[in-house]
């Protein structure tokens, strides 16, 4: 790490001597050494961070006009759409922003899977990332409840009822979550409180994520650590400009949805005010939760004395938690899929499996969808528990270049 510059501005120097914020920023954002061969897939970490900031900013002003009460929530959201200055814009950005956030985070995650970014010494970095994903899901779910439409209400009912699967204490826990004997005003109120709180928890986790990242620095498409200063470039201006360009592209597509198809990801039923007496014919979660919803529903049978409902819930949570164990389940010493010919295939099969699960999660639980969902669920776990451990042992990797510079000397493998 290069020493911090001597600050010319006396005020900056005065502050920095006492609280080295400027040196910190300089080290972590300006001078921060980054592998020179990162591809555009490496943009999605910072993009996720920016979307998070957009979500927090729009969320705070939305909260100023929203009323968390069962009698007023739906109308207050429509009042935001009609009467609050730019309210429609802010709400549509926030609503579609959730989707954009998950798009970025999922690409970020699948990039990590492809290039083995979870392997030593970045296990904690990876685990913190999965915790962020879990927190995001909880936040998104509670946010979905706030407009108090039909989907809001029934999503809240279904998801909170998952906890009733817990033996003995399940029912009391559900009543505790609800603050009553059904989803009602206390539930909405606490969901609002938590929906406001959790993003700040995510911000904290992002800080830890970055902290861990900055200890061992970014992985890269070759998957070998940087070996010399020649292989590193300062974050600023190289990656700041690259990230900003990526942000421009993301915003372009994102705003296309916001301005021209703002309700594309919304079920029309959520524009019907919540009615505790009528369940919509087909309830589905938001697209980003569908694969997990499919896993939940895949378990239609009791195992031994454990009821199906409980196994489904366990399976669903395990499907995320299992990602945390990946650094140990993947036994291959090679990081990047570029040099793992079989893993490369397996990776895409796994990716397709996730898409199938997403499709099943969106479909009604009937006919062929059930066995397909079960097979896809089995494969999902098989991928982690069987394929990954064995592959590391039996796969013969291609020769891994000894350094990034060596890899970059090779024709046609520049990575983008």
């Amino acid at each position: 790490m290069t020493p911090a510059p001597v600050w010319k501005n006396p005020i900056v120097r005065w502050i920095d001597y006492r609280l080295p914020v400027f040196s910190f920023i300089h080290h972590q954002l300006v001078d921060y050494p980054t592998p020179r061969n990162l591809s555009y897939w490496w943009n999605f970490g910072s993009l996720s961070g920016i979307v998070l900031v957009i979500m927090v900013m729009t969320g705070i002003v939305l909260a100023m006009s929203y009323t968390p009460h069962v009698d007023h929530a739906f109308d207050s959201v429509e009042r935001i759409m009609r009467d609050v200055n730019y309210g429609w814009l802010i709400r549509y950005v926030h609503m579609n922003g959730a989707s954009a956030f998950f798009v970025c985070v999922y690409i970020h995650l699948f990039r990590g899977l492809y290039y083995g970014s979870y392997k030593a010494p970045r296990e904690i970095l990876w685990i913190v990332g999965i915790v962020i994903l879990l927190t995001m899901m909880a936040t998104a779910f509670m946010g979905y409840v706030l407009p108090w439409g039909q989907m809001s209400f029934w999503a809240a009912t279904v998801i909170t009822n998952l906890f009733s699967a817990i033996p003995l204490i399940g029912e009391p826990i559900v009543a505790w979550l609800w603050g009553g004997f059904s989803i009602d005003n206390p539930t909405l109120n606490r969901f609002f409180a938590l929906h406001y709180l959790l993003p700040f928890v995510i911000l904290g986790l992002v800080f830890v994520h970055l902290w861990a990242l900055h200890i061992h620095k970014s992985n890269n498409p070759v998957g070998v650590e940087t070996k010399s200063a020649r292989e590193e470039i300062p974050f600023h201006p190289y990656y700041t400009i690259k990230d900003l360009f990526g942000l421009g592209v993301l915003l372009f597509f994102f705003l296309c949805f916001v301005f021209f198809a703002p309700n594309m990801f919304v079920e029309p039923d959520n524009y019907i005010p919540a009615n505790p007496l009528v369940t919509p014919a087909h309830i589905v979660p938001e697209w980003y939760l569908m694969p997990f919803y499919a896993i939940l529903r895949a378990i239609t049978f009791d195992i031994w004395f454990i009821p199906a409902k409980l196994i489904g819930v366990i399976a669903m949570f395990s499907s995320i938690v299992i990602l945390m164990l990946l650094p140990w389940l993947d036994t291959s010493p090679v990081r990047s899929a570029r040099y793992r010919p079989i893993y490369k295939q397996v990776y895409w099969i796994f990716f397709a499996d996730c898409l199938v699960l997403g499709y099943i999660g969106a479909s009604p639980p009937e006919g062929w969808y059930i066995p397909i969902g079960q097979i896809a669920t089995a494969y999902y776990f098989g991928h982690f528990l069987i394929v990954m451990p064995l592959l590391g042992i039996f796969e013969r990797p291609l020769p891994v270049p000894e350094s990034i510079t060596a890899a970059m000397g090779m024709p046609k493998e520049a990575g983008r």
Partner: protein, 252 residues
């Protein structure tokens, strides 16, 4: 990794087609609405006639409680017109200094008057069926305006062998085909101030336009702003790309 991107794009496409299907009734045919597309706007004459249809037909059962009379200013109604429209209804206000409710003429700031005091009264007056509020109706139904138009023009004689329950009506596009609402639009049912002939199609078209506006009053501004914003983002992104190329050129 390009393949990755393609698969992802395909996946998104999949999600889109998915959400469009799954309904028991045939999909209502798409209409060429002037407000479709990135430049579409609500036809002002359609809207005016649509308001006439809503006030004379729909309003006897369906509320529009999220829309205020003053909102009409957003689509070209003058202040005087709005005052007249609002003053045509009696609204309950109060309590006054004596603690009593009283009724007065409507004002622009009032919401559209609801036909029934509460959902129970609405049910009681409609054989137990609840006429839904229409404020966000095109956002709240799959197919939006197309569905609404299909429904309003979709009253037919049931096919042979189809048993329509007592008090129900056959409709081609209503899920399950049995709808409690009797055909609301009848040839010549309203008298348009602009002299347009009030055919069922015309009235359905007009009132659907009006209700689409009621659901998405921000649409015109949204699209207008969207074009400008996207243009700026496009230029900015192109500039950023140029700058990125230049900065990175120093590396190779």
């Amino acid at each position: 990794m390009i393949r990755f991107g393609l698969v992802l794009a395909a996946a998104l496409g999949l999600g889109v087609t998915l959400s469009a299907e799954a309904s028991e009734a045939p999909k209502a045919p798409a209409q060429a609405w002037p407000f479709n597309g990135p430049l579409g706007t609500y036809d002002r004459n359609d809207l005016r006639r649509g308001l006439t249809v809503y006030r004379n037909v729909c309003a006897s059962c369906h509320s529009l409680h999220l829309v205020s009379y003053r909102h009409l200013a957003g689509v070209g109604f003058t202040e005087e017109e709005i005052k007249t429209i609002a003053a045509a209804v009696e609204v309950e206000d109060g309590p006054n200094d004596q603690g009593e409710k009283f009724s007065r003429a409507g004002r622009p700031a009032d919401r559209f008057k609801s036909p029934f005091a509460n959902p129970q009264a609405a049910r009681a007056a409609n054989n137990g069926a609840f006429p839904p509020d229409l404020s966000v109706i095109t956002k709240a139904r799959k197919g939006g305006p197309d569905y609404l138009y299909g429904l309003l023009t979709g009253y037919k004689n049931p096919p042979a062998g189809f048993k329509v329950l007592e008090g129900m009506n056959y409709n081609e596009y209503f899920p399950g085909h049995q709808i409690a609402m009797p055909a609301p639009l009848n040839e010549g049912g309203v008298e348009y101030p602009d002299g347009t002939k009030s055919t069922v199609q015309q009235m359905a078209h007009d009132v659907t336009t009006f209700l689409s506006w009621a659901s998405e009053p921000e649409m015109e501004e949204r699209k207008r702003m969207g074009l400008k914003v996207l243009m700026v983002i496009f230029v900015l992104t192109a500039l950023l790309y140029g700058l990125k190329r230049q900065i990175w050129a120093a590396l190779h």
